[in-house]
């Protein structure tokens, strides 16, 4: 369902995706399909301990095994000091990144990579791993963020000091950062409130759950150029990270991205590429392929943070919010860098607040280093705040959507972190949700309940480059550098077709690697359709200008006399279609554009969910689900709907089942998809979508990022639905059957 739709010829239609046939026939080349002559296979030895000092590594027996070609350890990685680097949207300490790929001195989590082997085949490599003797001194560990903040907790990184937006602490700690947003008078705001609700929430560590494990094939050539084929959200990020970690010039590194089987933020950081590079060099410049197992993905790559969040909000009897306060503790994993910053910025983002304070803590614990996961930090934060908002509405006797509308942010209102919102579509989203048949239809039946929750994400623009060239038959080759995860070949090609005034089918998009296109930031932050869309708008206008000049040359007329409209060039009664003119070009037309637009605007959504709870088993069955979202202009509505549905599905898994389970020694116990329970099609109903199109004024076609918002509301919406079904407020994720039963028993007592 689409609420509004501006008038375009291509934008807003639903054509087939250019990569569709290759993908459904199995012909598309994914990372694991890459095969090179003389290729070896690499495997990684991982730590069995949560926290231990490496006393020695003896790989002599492994090296002696027939078929083993090389072994590397942390000592093979170039020594890097504490260099802070921008890695795309993130800031990283390169020494920590290096140590995360191959541990030096200490292992900091179960699954931490310690050594790697290249061998003639995977089986020999795995046998060799068993022959590597690592002597450890096991150290006390801490996997819980609260425990890690207590005095006397094991310190993971002795040099770590708390950073407060540039202000450094002076004592060893596990608290890597403290963030604060504060405005107004909190005490006065709460004093004005007639109702105050304060609750504390806990969310478990969860993984992105992309279906395709990390995989990379690397050749360190004799001329010291490095060729990398890998599954990544950002080929240029791989190039930059490998350059920094191996201390090589970026120009010596060529990264070719393969098709990608999902990333959700988890395929922005490198894990295998530098290790495979070192192995390739050590084997005498043979290509080395490394592919993770699912167990390695879960144990050795970044999940997103578990968290503790305290929220306190107050409102007057008339429904106006008077104050809000939150404290967020996010577990970063073994090295600093949880998404607590975005949790702090987003936790009260849907609400107009004059008196507000948010404190966030980034805490290292003996778990895998966290990585971005779709709206990083947003789901945790909104689970907490939207649960409290629901409780406030109930205590005030107000409809939960009416309460949200009364306090909703609009253009000109101030974000919790300070800046004011430009044009946003949150109010329109709430109104669409309230008018929807789902919300208007009464829900009846025992142990059934309806929940709603809002969601928010910042979105991003990033850098994008594209090249377009005109073929003699009138088709336009579009070369782009953004990994296509969610249909961006189509959404970018559609914007170029719209700009040129030619059919979508005449655009031939290709995603290429770092050697073949200008710089592109990763496909992440909900940026690609926005940012690369800006780039094709620029390239389309340049291309039209060139074609107009060619038409003028053809007609021997001044260029000013040539008009172009809707792909048709006219001059003094003469007419040429784009295709006709393409066939008459003496000089080929090729143009490029690079952009770094800033006009992305944040996105808002509102989810409605009906559940039925089996109060004996605790199983939550979703009866109906509707995701409503301000999507700016929906370029390809099917793919926008797919983003809303996919985000909601992931959010449901996070809400109801997914969690990392550890034993007392800090060992991860559920490293398979049998035990790490992601939702399947049997767990999910049809997810209905409502695309509210409030064009973003910061984009020529009104595009707004859409991919991250929809994972944010599900946990809160489900918690609120479970409450309305059972009378039990859920304060912990996942709301698994066991937790629901336990909570129901608690409430009954």
């Amino acid at each position: 369902m689409t609420v509004t739709s501006p008038q375009y010829k291509v934008i807003g239609t639903r054509p087939l995706r250019p990569d569709g046939i290759d993908k459904v026939t199995g012909r598309a080349i994914y990372g694991a399909d890459v095969k090179l002559p003389g290729m070896l296979h690499g495997k990684v030895l991982r730590s069995p301990h949560a926290h231990a000092r490496i006393l020695s590594i003896d790989a002599s027996a492994a090296r002696a095994l027939p078929g083993v070609r090389a072994v590397v350890t942390g000592n093979d990685m170039p020594a890097i000091g504490d260099k802070i680097a921008d890695s795309g949207e993130s800031v990283v300490n390169l020494r920590y990144v290096s140590n995360n790929l191959l541990a030096r001195e200490k292992v900091l989590y179960y699954g931490h990579a310690v050594a790697a082997v290249a061998a003639d085949n995977v089986h020999i490599a795995e046998d060799a791993l068993r022959l590597i003797k690592v002597e450890y001194e096991v150290l006390p560990h801490v996997i819980d963020g609260r425990a890690a903040m207590t005095a006397g907790a094991p310190i993971l990184l002795p040099e770590l000091r708390t950073d407060e937006l540039g202000k450094q602490g002076d004592a060893p700690t596990n608290v890597a950062a403290h963030i604060r947003h504060q405005r107004g008078d909190l005490a006065q705001g709460f004093a004005e409130a007639d109702v105050i609700v304060e609750r504390t929430f806990h969310t478990a560590t969860v993984h992105q759950g992309y279906i395709e494990p990390q995989t990379a094939t690397v050749l360190w050539n004799e001329d010291d150029t490095l060729h990398i084929w890998c599954s990544t959200q950002g080929a240029f990020y791989v190039q930059e990270q490998v350059a920094e970690l191996l201390q090589m010039p970026t120009s010596r590194i060529v990264v070719t991205p393969t098709e990608i089987g999902g990333g959700f933020g988890g395929k922005i950081n490198v894990y295998l590429e530098p290790v495979a590079a070192l192995l390739s060099r050590k084997t005498g410049h043979r290509p080395v392929k490394m592919t993770m197992t699912r167990a390695e993905v879960l144990a050795g790559t970044g999940p997103t943070s578990g968290s503790y969040i305290r929220v306190k909000m107050g409102a007057r009897r008339d429904g106006a919010l008077t104050a809000a306060e939150a404290e967020l503790l996010y577990e970063a994993g073994a090295y600093p860098g949880s998404p607590v910053d975005s949790g702090c910025g987003g936790i009260f983002a849907p609400y107009k607040l004059e008196n507000v304070q948010v404190d966030g803590y980034d805490v290292v614990v003996n778990r895998p280093k966290s990585a971005a996961y779709r709206a990083p930090g947003g789901t945790n934060a909104i689970f907490a705040s939207e649960s409290v908002v629901d409780e406030l509405a109930e205590k005030l006797g107000l409809d939960p959507l009416a309460f949200r509308l009364q306090n909703a942010v609009r253009e000109g209102d101030r974000r919790v972190d300070g800046p004011v919102y430009n044009r946003i579509g949150y109010v329109e989203t709430l109104e669409a949700a309230r008018a929807h048949a789902h919300y208007q239809t009464p829900l009846t039946g025992k142990h059934r309940g309806r929940g709603v929750a809002a969601g928010f994400w910042f979105n991003w623009g990033g850098k994008s480059s594209v090249t377009a060239s005109v073929n003699a038959d009138g088709a336009v080759n579009l070369i782009e550098g953004s990994t296509d995860i969610g249909g961006s070949r189509a959404s970018i090609a559609m914007q170029l077709a719209e700009t040129l005034g030619i059919p979508y089918e005449d655009i031939r998009p290709q995603v290429v690697g770092t050697a073949s296109i200008g710089y592109n930031d990763a496909t992440g932050g909900s940026r690609t359709t926005f940012g690369a869309g800006w780039a094709v708008y620029e390239v389309g206008n340049k291309l039209l200008a060139e074609m107009r000049q060619r038409a003028a040359d053809y007609w021997d007329a001044p260029v000013e006399a040539v008009a172009v409209d809707n792909g048709i060039f006219t001059q003094n009664g003469d007419k040429l279609t784009f295709r006709e003119l393409a066939g008459k070009l003496d000089v080929p037309v090729t143009v490029s554009a690079s952009v770094h637009p800033q006009g992305y605007g944040p996105g808002f959504g509102l989810h409605i969910v009906d559940v039925e709870v089996d109060v004996e088993t605790g199983k939550v069955t979703i009866l109906r689900y509707t995701a409503v979202q301000d999507v700016g202009t929906a370029i390809h509505p099917s793919y926008v709907e797919g983003q809303l549905q996919g985000g909601a599905a992931q959010g449901v898994g996070w809400a109801l089942n997914e969690e990392y389970v550890y034993d007392e020694q800090g060992r991860l116990l559920n490293t398979s998809l049998l035990d790490y329970r992601m939702p399947t099609t049997l767990d999910l109903p049809m997810i209905d979508t409502v695309l509210v199109e409030v064009p973003n004024p910061g984009h020529p076609y009104g595009v707004r990022g859409v991919g991250e918002v929809p994972i944010v509301p599900p946990a809160a919406a489900l918690a609120n639905a479970i409450y309305h079904a059972t009378g039990a407020r859920m304060h912990e994720l996942p709301m698994s059957p066991a937790r629901v039963v336990a909570r129901l028993a608690e409430v009954e007592r």
Binding site: E89, S90, L165, G166, R180, A375, D417, P419, N422, G525
Partner: protein, 88 residues
Amino acid sequence: MIHEVWIPPVHRDLTAGVERVQVEAATVGATVAALDARFPGMAARLTRDGKLRPGIAVAIDGVLSSRGLRQRLNAPCEIHFVPAIAGG
């Protein structure tokens, strides 16, 4: 040209709790210099090696700038120094 700068809450120890200040400057870099002149230590917290510290972003009238200290301020505006946010 006068701009309104919002002091990050964790740095209000340098401003005796003051939340907002008026600064005359042509660039974000000049703004930081002006802040540092009034509140010594502010530049060291916000910048390093002539750039905004990694992890700190600057928002001009609600829009994050990619130009950091080099961002020109062509009209009176509202300036915030905020944690840089990463997406997935």
